[in-house]
């Protein structure tokens, strides 16, 4: 089978889109179901990326361990650290209203960015740090390997989300999003549920960040700017934040269309790629968000249809 049509550029674009879909799925659980608007996505993404980097680079791994074991341990560290950070943030914001959550989570992302810049001894500061690829399938083989892993992760996340929608846990998340005091009065430990929700979502975003680090071979503060959060948020809202497939449809319509179709297949002047296109991308995403909120505030797919779901479950 010839894979020549898969240019390095296309592989990387697919990888980015897949990562964005993955993060949008985790955001979907927090925002679409439980009603917690997490604007700190890039914070968790970045924390995972940097935790992986710091572990793989700053720990003197003995040669006898080979390449794979340090890689696995550092990945696990990224997942654990971001899960703990998620619980901490979840605890801080658990009693705040929507505005408070927005500011708190945005603040967290800023803290991560500032730490990445300032703690040069660990993070390499503005220059960043290089990380090596632990697998050896050649340049293109490696990229395909990480793309495959990311796609697997996205499929798993989507499957998990779809199952959550038809599980008692999902019903409880919706209840918390709709009326938390009422859920509490029905004996539901809403605080603990929100903490675990944040732990899971953050761990997922952190893992995606760590895989980005390996794919990029390089970790820099410019990778963890606000545009990561924007792409996830705009994609999810455009697709429909309350639906299982909202993240997939929305991100394909935004990042998918722009990063793949426009950037790769449209004959654009080469000089545009460095500065013009990223700016145009933000503008188009912003405009799309406004249009969606004006004409279809619940996204392309619309609101959740629990009446249909429950009727199907009830009739067996």
């Amino acid at each position: 089978m010839s894979l020549d049509w898969l240019s390095a550029f296309l592989i990387y674009a697919l990888f980015t889109v897949a990562g964005t879909v993955g993060m949008a799925q985790f955001l979907h659980l927090q925002m679409g179901l439980a009603g917690i608007g997490n604007f700190g996505i890039v914070g968790f993404f970045g924390l995972g990326m940097y935790t992986y980097g710091v572990f793989i680079r700053r720990i003197p791994w003995p040669d006898a361990m080979g390449d794979i074991l340090p890689f696995v341990i550092s990945m696990l560290a990224a997942v654990v650290v971001t899960a703990l950070a998620g619980m901490l943030i979840g605890w801080f914001i658990s009693d705040l209203d929507g505005d408070g959550v927005l500011v708190g989570t945005l603040g967290f992302a800023t803290v991560v960015y500032s730490l990445a810049l300032s703690e040069k001894r660990w993070t390499g500061g503005a220059e960043g740090m290089a990380v090596t690829d632990p697998v050896g399938f050649g340049t293109k083989g490696n990229s395909l390997f990480w793309l495959g892993l990311m796609l697997l992760l996205v499929v798993a996340a989507t499957y998990y989300v779809a199952r959550v929608h038809r599980s008692p846990y999902g019903r409880l998340l919706v209840a918390i999003g709709q009326n938390e005091p009422l859920a509490r009065s029905l004996g539901k430990p809403t605080f603990g549920i929100k903490l675990s929700l944040f732990a899971i979502g953050s761990a997922g975003m952190g893992l995606i960040g760590a895989i980005f680090a390996v794919m990029n071979h390089f970790i820099r503060p410019t990778e963890i700017g606000i545009e990561v959060t924007l792409a996830v948020m705009v994609g999810l809202v455009l697709g429909g934040s309350a639906r299982v497939w909202g993240a997939v449809v929305g991100v394909l319509l935004t990042a998918g269309l722009f990063d793949i179709v426009v950037q790769i297949y449209l004959p654009l002047p080469d000089s545009w790629y460095q500065i013009t296109l990223p700016v145009v991308r933000e503008m188009v995403f912003g405009a799309m968000l406004i249009l969606v909120l004006l004409w279809r505030p619940l996204g392309v797919l619309g609101d959740m249809r629990r009446d249909k779901l429950v009727a199907r479950l009830g009739r067996g």
């Binding site: 599980s167 859920a183 430990p189 549920i193 609101d303």
Partner: protein, 247 residues
């Protein structure tokens, strides 16, 4: 005791609720009935004093005023809401299953627990839905009456040991109200649920309760059986008025 901005709203020395199957709690507006209920349910903090729950049946008593709000339901201390409360995006079946489902089926990785929750609770929920038909049980509660009824059914599905009903009849159509009250009476007598009703529709109180607490200006002024309370001078003067239809 509870005060807001220095103004004492509820000041009860020593009150025992739930010694009889059905008890009524009545009093004029502003007497502190709802605040007292909220103090018991821990949705407002106590300034002084404690609330203790005696489950009976050999279990030891629990000081519930130091427990988190969500721990009350699993002890069997349950209250219906005076103001209509609902989950807008959950259907009627969802709402009832949510109330009935147990905590260990609602953990993040229990993604295959739905079938079990349905299997365990369908019979009980169907019984309630047969007795109180909703316009579309797989859909959403639309009218205020449906939402109020749903609130009460959710509380019954929690299998309460003590059930506080805060103005349960407000918004219910008369025939539904009578059936709800008959069901509540039956739960109290057959299943030993201690029921406390706060209600302005005094016909419900006189017809249903075995014992009545009368509150005025933040304290419980009188306690006794309904017939006696109904004729008592203080109650007549402070609440009912001489020509009240409820007498």
């Amino acid at each position: 005791m509870k005060s807001f901005d220095g103004r004492v709203v509820v000041d009860v020395d020593d009150l025992i609720l739930g010694s009889n199957p059905v008890e009524g709690l009545i009093g004029p507006n502003g007497a502190g009935k709802t605040t007292l209920m909220r103090m018991i349910m821990h949705s407002v903090r106590l300034d002084q004093g404690t609330v203790t729950f005696h489950p009976g049946g050999g279990s030891s008593s629990v000081v519930i005023s130091s427990l988190p709000a969500h721990a009350m339901a699993s002890l069997g201390v349950v209250k219906t809401n005076q103001v209509i409360q609902d989950f807008e995006k959950l259907t009627i079946w969802d709402s009832l299953l949510l109330a009935a489902a147990r905590g260990r089926d609602e953990r993040p990785f229990r993604i295959f627990a739905e079938k079990r929750v349905w299997a365990q609770n369908t019979a009980e929920i169907k019984r309630y839905l047969d007795e109180f038909p909703f316009a579309s049980p797989y859909g959403f509660a639309k009218s205020a009456g449906e939402k109020k009824l749903l609130d009460i059914l959710r509380c019954l599905l929690l299998r309460p040991k003590i059930l506080l009903l805060d103005e349960p009849t407000a918004g219910l159509p008369a025939d539904v109200r009578d059936r709800v009250m008959a069901l509540v009476r039956q739960k109290a007598v057959d299943e030993y649920v201690s029921v406390v009703i706060v209600e302005h529709d005094l016909n419900v109180i006189w017809a249903l309760s075995d014992y009545v607490h009368f509150m005025a200006e933040g304290s419980v002024v009188l306690q006794g059986d309904p017939a006696w309370i109904r004729e008592h001078e203080t109650v007549v003067e402070k609440y009912l008025g001489k020509g009240h239809v409820g007498r």
